[in-house]
């Protein structure tokens, strides 16, 4: 009973602060917009901690945040090794391969109206399919190390990037293309000076969608076989050992990596497409 009262008190305090801040005079300022979600997050974590410890919930159901943090701090070498194996080797390699392949196919398809028309619906269709399912096949073909994960990731990120790039390359008006023609620009100058820059917002859209897919692909593919290192491997074995604090620590790593990856792409996008209305 006590636990619920304290948790409720924490909730009221957090919500009251946020309500004051959100309806206050400077609620649209950057700092306040950042502080409010942080207070919300801290409130949730504090309630979680209080409820789990005071009701002595078994750690194999839900470990308290403090023990997750402790586990995180004490297992940094293992977590780093897993991060290196899954994110840096598996996800990144696959992401780069998939991206290059998608750009290449998009440029090829773009040369013919017919191919563009064919690739857009097929690509959009493929992007909606559960491509994660190819993981067991790739693990069988390429072995259980990171190469098979990179292959799964490459296939997963390929279609969203392809569809967005093809759509982006079509996004110039007849007037703009005519202007290039009056300058006497051929295919390549038009491509580099007009159509690729115009396609960039679309391409980054695809690239940002693909960041999450890359991480999902690399982690899930490890459920089908992996060396004794990697985030997916650690998650599935720790679940088997009921070491849920370790699982949560890996999930924290995955969340941080996912946000950072997305953040980096968003930052590059900001730099590369500073002229676009959505960035100004």
């Amino acid at each position: 009973m006590m636990a619920f009262l304290i948790a409720f008190a924490i909730w009221v305090a957090g919500w009251w602060t946020n309500a004051r801040l959100a309806n206050g005079p400077r609620s649209d300022s950057r700092t306040i917009s950042l502080i409010i979600p942080i207070i919300f997050g801290v409130t949730i974590i504090a309630m979680w901690e209080v409820l789990v410890t005071m009701l002595s919930v078994s750690p194999i159901i839900l470990p308290p945040p403090s023990s997750i943090a402790a586990r995180f701090a004490s297992e940094i070498p293992i977590l780093w090794a897993d991060f290196e194996q899954t994110i840096l080797k598996g996800a990144m390699t696959g992401y780069v391969i998939g991206m290059i392949a998608a750009f290449a196919v998009a440029l090829l398809a773009d040369r013919s109206e017919f191919l563009t028309k064919g690739i857009l619906p097929v690509g959009a269709f493929m992007a909606a399919l559960p491509i994660v399912g190819t993981a067991p096949i790739f693990v069988k073909w390429l072995g259980s190390n990171w190469e098979s994960k990179a292959a799964v990731v490459a296939v997963m990120v390929f279609f969203p990037i392809l569809v967005n790039t093809v759509a982006g390359l079509k996004d110039t008006s007849a007037m703009q293309r005519d202007l290039m023609r009056t300058y006497g620009a051929g295919y390549w100058p038009t491509l580099f000076k007009l159509r690729l820059p115009a396609a960039l917002p679309f391409m980054f859209n695809g690239l940002k969608i693909a960041t999450t897919l890359a991480l999902i692909g690399a982690i899930v593919a490890e459920f089908f076989g992996s060396p004794t290192v990697g985030m997916g491997f650690r998650i599935s074995t720790s679940v088997g050992q009921l070491a849920l604090d370790m699982v949560w620590a890996e999930i924290v790593v995955a969340a941080l990596a996912g946000s950072a990856f997305y953040g980096v792409m968003a930052l590059i996008e900001k730099r590369a497409t500073f002229w676009h209305p959505s960035q100004r």
């Binding site: 946020n18 917009s33 096949i137 995955a254």
Partner: protein
């Protein structure tokens, strides 16, 4: 889609099928050569170990006789399209839908978890979106998390959710549905918030001149205006929900469902089972998206927004 739009798409599909069919030959070359030798044929490098040094392509060029045999292996590395088609036909049409060997049975197991989860996730997502649009505190506190959560590989949580719920005695359909719900929840929240906010100042002002209250503003303006956004996120949400249900079947050693079939095919060396499950899942996803697209078109057309669809 009209006929003109279908021809290029069909061309692309047939090119993909042709590449797949051709790839079968080098991919299966080594397996086929080993099999052919056991059947008494003379292979060009005699020793299997010597053959390992060759790529599939050179092996086939040296032994052109094995080309037709690459298409008839029972456990190929890469099954040819017709083998997958036959396997799918047999497991869908010739087995009773209640049998464990029927793909329809496994499809239903996964589909029921997907649909239940999708319904839960969508309902909660729409409710939260309404809350976010009407409550400034909620908007400021929850919305950043909803957006951030889309950059997080939530699917990594799947094994833990299954075990966690298993520990408190919840098994079967519900754990998978919760993963599905979780995955379809966030796209719906983000899309619905955008949709409910899509009416511009002029439209809101017009309602004010009619002295409409907040309730009428919601039912007569905001909710109808959000429909195109809702359908766009529903389509993302349903494929996410299906992936969630499939992945939810992986870590627990589930015995039924597409995920279980993939795992079984993988562990018992039955590539056809894996491939059939993969294509079964793909067809299911395609059907779900197609149904939503159809409903979307009908709804938007009835609402006079057909052109924007």
């Amino acid at each position: 889609m009209n006929i003109r739009g279908i021809i290029p798409a069909l061309t692309v599909v047939s090119v993909i099928l042709a590449i797949w069919t051709l790839a079968v030959i080098p991919m299966n070359a080594h397996l086929t050569a080993d099999q052919a030798q056991r059947d008494g044929l003379v292979m060009t490098p005699e020793a299997p170990r010597d053959r390992q040094a060759y790529t599939g392509l050179t092996l086939v060029i040296k032994n052109p006789a094995i080309i037709p045999m690459t298409y008839t292996l029972t456990r190929p590395r890469l099954p040819s399209p017709h083998q997958v088609a036959i396997e799918m036909y047999e497991t869908i049409f010739t087995k009773a839908p209640t049998s464990r060997r029927s793909l329809v049975y496994h499809a239903w197991v996964t589909l029921s978890a997907t649909l239940l989860g999708f319904a839960i996730g969508t309902t909660l997502g729409v409710l939260l979106a309404v809350g976010i649009v009407y409550n400034r505190t909620m908007d400021k506190s929850v919305m950043p998390w909803a957006i951030t959560s889309q950059t997080i590989p939530i699917l990594a949580l799947a094994p833990m959710i299954i075990v966690m719920l298993g520990a408190i005695g919840i098994q079967g359909l519900l754990p998978k549905s919760i993963i599905s719900a979780y995955l379809s929840f966030f796209p719906v929240v983000v899309g619905m918030v955008k949709g409910l906010r899509s009416p511009d100042g002029m439209q809101l002002d017009l309602l004010r001149t009619y002295s409409a209250n907040a309730n009428q503003g919601f039912w007569k303006l905001r909710l109808p205006a959000s429909m195109p956004y809702l359908f766009a996120s529903l389509k993302i949400g349903i494929s996410a929900a299906l992936v969630g249900a499939i992945v939810g079947e992986l870590p627990t050693g589930a015995r039924a469902g597409f995920g279980a079939r993939m795992l079984v095919g993988d562990q018992y060396g039955q590539p056809m089972v894996t491939w059939a499950a993969l294509f079964g899942a793909a067809i299911t996803a395609a059907l779900l998206v197609a149904i939503l697209t159809w409903i979307e078109r009908r709804t938007l057309a009835r609402m006079g927004m057909g052109a924007t669809a």
